[in-house]
Amino acid sequence: MLDSLSASLKDALKKLAGKTVVDRAAVDELTKDLQRALISSDVNVKLVIDLSKAIRTRSLEEEPPKGTNVREHVLRIVYQELVRLVWASTDVKLEPQTILMAGLQGSGKTTTTAKIARFFQKKGMKVGVICADTFRPGAYDQLSTLCQKINIPCIGDPKGTDARKIVKEGLVTTKDLEVVIVDTQGRHALEADLIQEIIDLNAITKATHRWLVIDAALGQQASEQARRFHEAIGIDGVIITKMDGTAKGGGALSAVAETKSGIVFVGAGETVENLERFDPDGFISRLLGMGDMHALMERAGEVMTGEEVDVNAMMKGKFSLRDMYKQLEALNKMGPLKQIMSMLPMGNMKLPDGVYDVTTTKMVRYRIIMDSMTDAELDDPSLITSSRLQRIARGAGASPEEVRELLKYYKMMQRTLKGLRGATGGKFNMQRMMKRFTGSQ
């Protein structure tokens, strides 16, 4: 995600790399490229123009600090201005609270409601949700199905027509719970009676937080819609959804600037686990192609202990089937490979598409097949002859084709990881990358 934006930004910055003095023409060119990059990522046009003006003025007027070259100087200014743009991260406090969800139709409020409920549940809070969507058919069924899966009480009335009443009653039922999330019907700013409804719901719930859910693909409309929602109920946090597509989420940036709030969560995937905390520094670093190590570490720490996957050994090309087994196991908990890879500081490295094409079901199959291999085979897959292959297949209840496919996938992964090493000058080192990453801030 966000890869095309960072690619075009990097192109723009590259043009400054060879320069020795900050000259007007080069900065002009950079701001123009930056403008195009941000606009094509759906950031509000006025915002982009303000931003690029600020960058231009600062780049030309500020003296580069001693020891930094022109590129670093301008890069830092771009970075600082972008951070200012996304404002601050909103703190999620683990305390009793009521959250009101708002957003346009189809932005993903209901799915996100379940995801947030899961988030608080995992942190050990008692959570309940209220379904205040009385308009869309099946809305209650959707939310209650999602909640059932994670054992969270869902209050609502599939036949009810009065959202205000449902919420009032729901608040009574959930008064013993710590976190109550109110899912609402999708609405846009021009529907006056629906806006009035959400104002009323806000008053009834006395919501601690009013979070606006924004589809990552939302275009220039984002500013306007966010402004009107903000005027109605005072938005204090934005959630970007559908970040697993190719959309860049620029609309969410406009919304954040408009509401002077921060991005609370980022949703990227269809299961209730696919929710990340937003980290503005990491977001901008990733935008500029420096990788969001922090988010990855946070995530990895949650699902596995450090020794399970030795990233360094993997990157050095020492990659056996055993590593792949561990990796598949870990990935299963962490989410799709593509998501993980986008968080690693690979810059704009393009990985072959085939690497990502392993579905969750296939991963499970692969693990079963590997379970029927011997230790020696796991350490050195070249041992696997056709008779061994037959045995493995029979042991795993798989066809020999599947075993071959697994070996093929292994070889591809191995090649890819070797390639990574090659691409970064033969000395790819996570620590070094991290140092560079933190040093650049």
């Binding site: 046009v45 139709q105 189809g106 308009f135 999602l146 693909a217 409309q221 190719t246 959309a247």
Partner: protein, 341 residues
């Protein structure tokens, strides 16, 4: 929906008009000064001056690249602010530039008309022709099978219900296939729609194979002599290879006559990326744009039409079943640029 774009385009057009008007006038003044010198030397009859004047007025002037470049960059910003994707707005600008620069125009002719014509042609070139679903159904063998695809949350299910209601009013018999077996509550959602509209719905339980559901729907339509099959599917991102191949299977199994790509009018630049990807992997014969009532500027319509070169069929404009209008490019462009000048 195009209200915002309309306003902006008018402003850009005025700018373009004045910039051509301004740059064109000075040479006219110069030339009119020149022939006056001989007129002063030889006290000729006033009829000669009149003749010269006439000559200048009838003369054609050439619009140069320089005349329009400033105004065109304003137009470009306008398009970008209206959610027209970058490559698409580039294409429109190029088209307008090409049709303006080097154009001869008579001084008497209004600059405005020239600009309007150029813009209108550019937009029409991009929007293509509309798609008349009623006509299509009438001229094709029944049942006409229509498959709806798109990413998550664009409004496929609601659109299926709306199109069902629209076709029912046109006198066709309709059956809906509940092909979204993945999202929680999706089957219940389409079921309620179908009941309210009095349309037969074929459904399996959640988690079933959508291809099987839609196959059954087609079989039902054949044996009951139903005119149109509307097949709903689960929203999916073009980046998910397995979900896209599931869609490929659905397409093979039900063999639709029309694949309709559904996207939202408020989508920004990504609309182009995903439309292109859907077109590439599954194909699309027509496009439905939803949520067009959100004060959106309609740029997505222009970009999607330009990217996949497929006609827009309907616009979804609200939450009730009647909020769907057939899309007619001429009318939209006419409304954007014409009439009230």
């Amino acid at each position: 929906m195009f209200g915002g774009l309309k306003e902006r385009l008018r402003a850009a057009r005025e700018r373009l008009g004045t910039s051509i008007g301004e740059t064109v006038k000075p040479p006219a003044a110069l030339e009119s000064a020149a022939p006056e010198i001989p007129a002063a030397v030889t006290p000729a009859s006033p009829s000669l001056v009149d003749k010269v004047k006439l000559l200048i007025i009838d003369r054609e002037l050439v619009v140069s690249d320089k005349d329009v470049s400033d105004a065109l960059s304003v137009l470009e910003m306008t398009l970008l602010e209206s959610d027209v994707a970058l490559p698409t707005s580039d294409a429109i600008i190029a088209h307008v530039r090409k049709s303006l620069v080097g154009k001869h125009r008579k001084i008497g002719e209004s600059v405005d008309a020239l600009v309007v014509r150029a813009l209108k042609n550019a937009l029409l070139a991009v929007l293509g022709t509309g798609f008349d679903l009623t006509e299509y159904i009438k001229t094709h063998e029944h049942p006409v099978k229509i498959l709806f695809t798109g990413v998550n949350g664009t409004g496929k299910t609601t659109t299926v219900a709306k199109v069902g209601s629209y076709l029912k009013k046109q006198g066709f018999s309709v059956v809906i296939g509940a092909g979204d077996t993945f999202r929680a509550g999706a089957i219940e959602q389409i079921d309620v729609h179908a009941q309210r509209l009095g349309i037969k719905i074929i459904q399996h339980q959640a988690g079933a194979d959508p291809s099987a559901v839609l196959f059954d729907t087609v079989q039902y339509a054949i044996s009951h002599k139903i005119d149109v099959v509307l097949a709903d599917t689960a929203g999916r991102f073009h980046t998910k290879a397995n979900l896209m191949s599931q869609l490929g299977k659905i397409k093979r199994v039900m063999n639709p006559d029309l694949v309709v790509y559904v996207d939202e009018a408020v989508a920004g630049n990504d609309a182009v990326v995903r439309a292109a990807e859907f077109e590439r992997t599954i194909g699309a014969d027509a496009v439905v744009l939803t949520k067009a009532d959100m004060d959106s500027r309609g740029g997505a319509a222009i970009s999607i039409a330009h990217t996949i070169k497929k006609p827009l069929m309907f616009l979804g404009t609200g939450q009730s079943y009647d909020d769907i209008i057939p899309f007619s490019p001429q009318q939209v462009v006419e409304e954007l640029l014409g009439g009230d000048t």
